[in-house]
Symmetry: C3
Subunit: 142 residues, 3 copies
C-alpha cells in the first residue's frame, strides 16, 4: 500500500558543529513501515544546514568546519546583514553552500546509505538553537 508519512522533531544544538541524526531518521523510517521508497529530511532554518558526510573519522568533520570558517569568514567589511552578530550572515552563506534537505532511498525498510555516509545537522550559529526538522517518507509498505 502506498503511504506518505510525515514526522517532525526538534534537535537542540549547543553551538557550531556537526551533529549526527542518522539513527533518528532510521527510527522514523521504521515507524513509517515503508519498505520501498524515499525519505526526505528537511531543516526548517536558514542559519543551519544538512549534509551527508563521512561518519567514520571525526577528523574529517573538524577539517570540514575549519574549511567553512575560512571560505566564509566572519566580519567581512561588506556584510550589511549583521543584526544578530558576526556569525549571522556567515551562517546563511554556509547554509547556501551546503544543503537544506537531503533525500535518501529506502529499500527493504532501511536507509540505503553507503558504508561511510551519515546524515549531519550542521549548526552555524555560535550559540546553537532548537532546530526543527521534518521527515517525509513516501513509498510502499509491502
Amino acid at each position: 500500500m502506498f503511504t506518505a508519512y510525515n514526522a517532525e522533531f526538534v534537535f537542540p544544538t549547543m553551538g557550531k558543529g556537526t551533529y549526527e541524526v542518522t539513527d533518528k531518521i532510521a527510527e522514523l523510517v521504521r515507524a513509517s513501515r515503508i519498505q520501498t521508497g524515499l525519505v526526505n529530511v528537511f531543516l526548517r532554518h536558514t542559519s543551519a544546514s544538512l549534509l551527508l558526510f563521512e561518519n567514520a573519522d571525526a577528523t574529517a568533520r573538524r577539517d570540514l568546519e575549519r574549511f567553512f570558517e575560512q571560505l566564509v569568514p566572519e566580519r567581512e567589511a561588506y556584510f550589511s546583514h549583521s543584526l544578530e552578530g558576526p556569525d549571522d550572515m556567515p551562517s546563511h552563506l554556509r547554509m547556501a553552500l551546503t544543503r537544506t534537505s537531503e533525500s535518501i532511498p529506502v529499500a527493504a525498510g532501511k536507509l540505503r546509505l553507503g558504508t561511510w555516509q551519515g546524515l549531519f545537522l550542521y549548526e552555524h550559529r555560535a550559540q546553537g538553537s532548537q532546530r526543527s526538522l521534518v521527515v517525509s517518507v513516501i513509498g510502499t509498505t509491502d
Copy 2:
C-alpha cells in the same frame, strides 16, 4: 488517494539577483489538493539556481549576491567556456555551488517552511532570461 501532480511555469528574470517564488509554489500545492507529502521544485537551467534562503531581510540577499560575485569572479584567466560573455562560466559555477531543485514537505495541504524560509530563483546571467520551472507534488489528498 495517492496523487502525483506536475505543473510547469515560466518565470521571467530581469538580470542577476534573487526572485522569490514561494507564493507561486504554495498556489500550485493548493491546486494539487495534496494534503500530506512532498513538493519538489526543479529549475530546467544550468546558469540559474534555486535556493531556500532568509526571506525577511533583503540585506541578507544583497550580501549573498556579493559573496558569490567574490567567490566566483568573472574573467578568470583559465576560463575556456566564455562564448556567451564573462558571466557565462561564473553562472554555471554559482549554480553548481547552490541548488537546481529544492524539496519541501507538505502537511495539512501547506508548505512546512520555517518562519524565515523563502524559495528563491537565483538568476546568474546579467541579462536575465525566461526561466522554466517544474513543480512536482507527490502525496495523499486525504
Copy 3:
C-alpha cells in the same frame, strides 16, 4: 497505478572528472513504467558527488574541475584527515559543496530536463573507484 521503483547500479570511474549518467537514468525511468512523478538519483559515497550541469560544451566541465581544484586546494596545512592521501579531504569538501543526490521530474515517462542539462557523476578521487548509485522513481504508471 502508484509505484515506487528502486534500482541500483555501479559506475566505474577512472580518476578525477565528470562522467555523464543521464542516459542510464532515462533507461531506468523507462524500465519503471512511471509516467508522472519524480526520480531521485543517490550516490552512496562521500568522496564523489552528483551534479546537474551543462552537457553541450565540454569546456564548461573542464573549467568546473579547475575551479574546484583552486577553491579546495590539496595539502592544506590544517587538514588532519589525510590517511588516504592528499586527495582524501578535498574529495569530501568538493562533495559537500556540490550534491549527493539530484531529483528530476518525470512527465510523459521522460526526464523533464532542460535543453542543456545533463546529470554527471563527479569523481574527486585521483584513482577513481567503483561508484554505487541508487535510482528511485516514484509516481503513477498511467
